[in-house]
């Protein structure tokens, strides 16, 4: 037990020493904090009216929009719902793609796997955004509003396919390793093998899927809001962008308004980018880099031809 604890401490050390992961996590936390702040406090009320389309000034750090609202306040207010959808989709996509990938890879070749294959391809062909807006429009016709739950669900139901394929191929190659066959031979039950032996090496991929799913969730939400068919239960960065589009804010050069809508997204994207770089050594251990020590020391080696001094 003590040894396993010591080993996990060393693993944590490797993770935190990794600068890229550290920066990535910091940025994600920054975004989350921004969202939390925005949900309880904004510099001005989101509905307060000021003069229209004012460029940034000390009073309004990000200026005002075409309706006279303070852009900074809007940005802070809209961030958290956007992030919720993003992380929700990320988590669900990670879960689904892992489970389906595990099952598809372990049982490869059997009929169940072929069915999974067909379903995966079908799902690959349905773009999440399109499904979401189509479903929303059906709901709208019935005058039922689309909650964020339905949004997350619709996006996740089709977002797992790409990752499931990746995970499946990895699980397939692992399943052919001799230690898995050995486990089968000693009589281990399938679900034990899958969860205690096949899942742990897959976890970095699962995490990568979470990152991908979050990006995909935010992007899809924002794109879907563009069509204006999601009767939003609360405003999010997507609704902000929808207003920007209908007002053709680019024609009137209101760059600050657009910027306000995408700053939290940029922070999220940067954070995920760093995390992506940071975790590739876990996904493929061959990539682990060895750092040469800063301080060199001299070692004396006795040989037949005398003593050699080397510096390491």
């Amino acid at each position: 037990m003590k040894r396993e604890f010591a080993l996990s401490i060393s693993k944590v050390k490797v993770i935190t020493k990794n600068k890229f992961i550290a920066i990535g996590v910091a940025l994600l936390l920054l975004d989350i904090i921004l969202g939390i702040i925005g949900s309880i406090w904004t510099p001005y009320s989101v509905n307060a009216s000021f003069s229209f389309s004012e460029p940034p000034s000390w009073k309004h750090l990000l200026g005002t929009d075409a309706y006279g609202h303070d852009v900074l306040s809007e940005m802070l207010h809209d961030t958290l719902p956007t992030l919720e959808v993003g992380f929700g989709v990320g988590a669900l996509v990670a879960l689904l793609s892992t489970i389906i990938g595990l099952l598809g890879g372990y049982y490869a070749g059997k009929t169940a796997s072929i069915i999974i294959d067909i379903i995966t391809i079908t799902v690959l062909t349905i773009p999440g955004v399109i499904l979401l807006v189509v479903v929303s429009s059906y709901f709208r016709v019935a005058n039922i509003s689309v909650s964020y739950g339905i949004t997350i669900l619709s996006l996740s139901i089709v977002g797992w396919a790409f990752g499931a394929r990746q995970i499946r191929s990895q699980v397939l190659s692992l399943s052919n390793r001799e230690y898995i066959i050995a486990s089968k031979l000693i009589g281990e039950k399938s679900y034990t093998i899958i969860f205690t032996q096949l899942l742990p090496p897959i976890l970095p991929l699962t995490f990568a899927q979470f990152l991908f799913g979050t990006l995909y969730g935010v992007l899809s939400l924002v794109t879907a809001e563009f069509w204006g068919v999601l009767p939003a239960t609360s405003s999010n960065l997507g609704t902000m962008l929808a207003f920007i589009s209908t007002n053709a804010a680019y024609v009137s050069n209101q760059w600050w308004w657009i910027l306000g809508a995408i700053i939290p997204i940029i922070i999220l994207g940067t954070g995920i980018g760093f995390l992506n770089i940071g975790i590739d050594e876990f996904v493929d251990p061959r990539l682990r880099e060895i750092k040469l020590p800063q301080v060199r020391r001299i070692v004396k080696i006795p040989t037949d031809n005398g003593v050699i001094e080397v510096s390491i």
Binding site: Y179, I181, I186, P293, D304, I308
Partner: protein
């Protein structure tokens, strides 16, 4: 042969090692010096971890981070390879010195045709299309490859053919020296024999030198002119093949020679070397073989032995090099007598038939259908095989790769379905493939795999590997009982002290230790039949004997053991009966001594010819 003018390559004081992820450093090669002469085959032989591959890469100046060459010179035609510029090195590679890495046959660019690949390599060295084609044709035919190979992709060729391609590529520009790093690992024993035989003929004809790295001492004794034995980063003995064979003057060489089974000189007991080679994180005074040496003196611990010259060509790095080791006695741990302890019989259920037959296989067939061109062809992987496995008897199944041995093993183990044929275990019919996935069957039939590096789960401890079968098959009543059983099993397979191994992870164990854990895992189930699929072919020579001795001991526990291998020499050491398989059929079977010393079938004879044996000459 030892004229100074005949020196082709000179290595002086080479020291190299690797940086570890935690910022440390360990040495792989320390102060190595030797010469390669013209027109000779020099072998560097050593077991895993001795530094031979590092040595080869360092010589070629291709040791990459985290490896580093710390000091030394590699002199070729007056210039030091280690100090050359990248451009100079590139001009030497392939033209004057070629290097064939380990697993080169898997290193061919998968999306390029063989011919195009070779042309590209030649183009880089300034050869035009026509000249290139001529050279390629020449060398392909030299390596006995059909000319159609130029239009094929690597995937379309067998392992042996790919290795010939790689060797042909290395010879394209008629270099003076070819360095080969373990050129025959992973190849079928007969293919290995044929490639080395052809290579030697070519070498004698064209007159270049070969520096070959290998862990297979008997094979090198057949192939090489001179042999350098490497241990823990040093060359401990070097001499001509005959000198080493008749007169080994380093304890390590001596023990190695006595740990390999030979058909020509049968030994009743094989030696094994207890312990593991040291990891050179620091340089300690004294001989590095001290801990494991049967002939050590107190002097050996304090002083580093120097080379003692036994003849012009024969040197040994041991204080006792002038003595004849065969006259000295060895302690029992080198014979690894294993104690059965409290285990009288492993299997819980006695056999039904009085003739002690545990497993009976009748008329087994396994047929695959593939497409070749426009026709469907049936491939008979297993073509009418029948045999019995008796308790207390080790039955060997011998043959080259691809003749069906592993398929039979997998079918019996219940991993694969047979096309037809019956299988009886203790008289009960288990011919239906699904019946062989049941707990009942699995509790009686177990398997040990070939590759020690992938037969244990890297994320779980040794204890976990032994616990699981005990728990699944309900062999224990409570936690204490469980712990005791695990310890007993580890002791049984020779892992002493067992407590030290409980919490180790596979990557902390050597190959031999891992195989022992695999055997213990299989034994935990208390099976009637144990299938050992090439259990020692990926292990070092000095470790093999230990595992083979474990298997021999298991026979006394009333297990029926099927020992699958391509190495007839090991068969002559541990098996009672042997079956030779060729193209899916058993072509010869019988008592071990009968078959080996009086072979009747052509294939058996070829196997006997190809088996590496230090007393043979290629």
């Amino acid at each position: 042969m030892s004229n100074v003018n005949d020196i082709l390559l000179s290595v002086r004081n080479l020291t190299a090692g690797y940086y570890t992820p935690t910022g440390g450093f360990y040495f792989a090669v320390t102060g190595v010096s030797f010469d390669v002469f013209k027109n000779e085959i020099l072998a560097i032989v050593g077991e895993s971890g001795c530094g031979k591959s590092t040595l080869a890469l360092s010589i070629y100046n291709n040791l990459h981070s985290p490896g580093k060459v710390l000091s030394g010179e590699v002199l070729f035609e007056g210039k030091d390879l280690l100090k050359m510029s990248k451009e100079e090195l590139r001009s030497i590679r392939m033209t004057r010195i070629s290097f064939v890495p380990q697993y080169a046959m898997d290193s061919l660019d998968p999306v390029t045709k063989i011919g195009d690949f070779m042309k590209m390599a030649l183009r880089e060295h300034g050869y035009g299309e026509l000249e290139a084609e001529k050279l390629i044709r020449e060398k392909l035919s030299l390596m006995r490859l059909p000319p159609e190979v130029v239009n094929m992709y690597p995937l379309e060729l067998s392992g042996g053919m790919r290795q010939r391609v790689v060797l042909a590529t290395s010879m394209l520009l008629n270099p003076d020296l070819i360095i080969l790093d373990e050129p025959t690992t992973g190849l079928d024993v007969i293919v290995q024999y044929e490639i080395l035989r052809d290579l030697k003929i070519i070498q004698r004809k064209l007159g270049f030198s070969i520096l070959i790295i290998s862990h297979d001492l008997p094979l090198m004794m057949m192939f090489a002119d001179r042999i350098a034995v490497m241990y823990a980063g040093e060359i401990v003995e070097i001499g001509s093949k005959n000198e080493l064979l008749d007169n080994p003057r380093h304890p390590y060489t001596y023990l190695l020679l006595n740990s390999v089974p030979s058909i020509i000189k049968r030994r009743e007991v094989l030696l094994s070397i207890p312990g593991n080679p040291p990891l050179l994180t620091s340089i300690e005074p004294g001989c590095r073989f001290y801990d494991r040496c049967p002939f050590r003196l107190s002097q050996c611990k304090e002083e580093l032995p120097r080379y003692i010259k036994l003849s012009e060509t024969h040197h040994s790095k041991c204080f006792r090099a002038n003595e004849n080791f065969s006259s000295l006695t060895l302690k029992p741990e080198y014979y690894e007598e294993l104690n059965i302890g409290g285990y009288k019989s492993i299997t819980s259920a006695p056999s039904v038939g009085s003739d002690g037959v545990a497993l009976s296989v009748r008329d087994l067939h396994k047929v695959y259908t593939v497409w070749r061109g426009l026709r469907r062809i049936k491939i008979y992987a297993v073509n009418g095989v029948s045999f019995n496995l008796r308790r207390g008897v080790i039955t060997a199944l011998v043959g080259g790769s691809g003749h069906g041995k592993s398929t039979i093993a997998k079918i019996i183990a219940g991993i694969e379905k047979q096309t037809s044929g019956s299988i009886f275990l203790d008289g009960k019919d288990f011919s239906k493939p699904s019946s062989r996935s049941t707990m009942e069957y699995r509790s009686k039939v177990q398997m040990v795999f070939q590759d020690p590096y992938s037969s244990l789960d890297p994320r779980h401890t040794v204890e976990w590997h032994i616990r699981r079968p005990l728990i699944i098959h309900g062999k224990v009543k409570n936690e204490n009982d469980l712990k005791q059983r695990v310890v007993n099993l580890l002791t049984l397979v020779g892992l002493k002290p067992p407590e030290k191994y409980l919490n180790r992870y596979p990557h902390e164990l050597s190959g031999g230790e891992r195989q022992r854990v695999s055997i213990a895992r299989a034994l935990a189930v208390e099976p009637a039949v144990l299938i050992a699929d090439e259990p020692v072919s990926m292990l070092d020579a000095s470790v093999r004997a230990g595992i083979l001795n474990v298997l021999k001991m298991l026979r006394n526990l009333n297990l029926a053991i099927l020992y699958i291998t391509h190495d007839l020499a090991t068969v002559s050491y541990i098996a009672d009966e042997v079956m030779v398989i060729y193209n899916g059929q058993i072509v010869e079977k019988g008592d071990v001594k009968e078959v080996i010393y009086n072979p009747k079938h052509e294939y058996t004879k070829r196997l006997i010819e190809a088996v590496p044996d230090p007393y043979k000459e290629l």
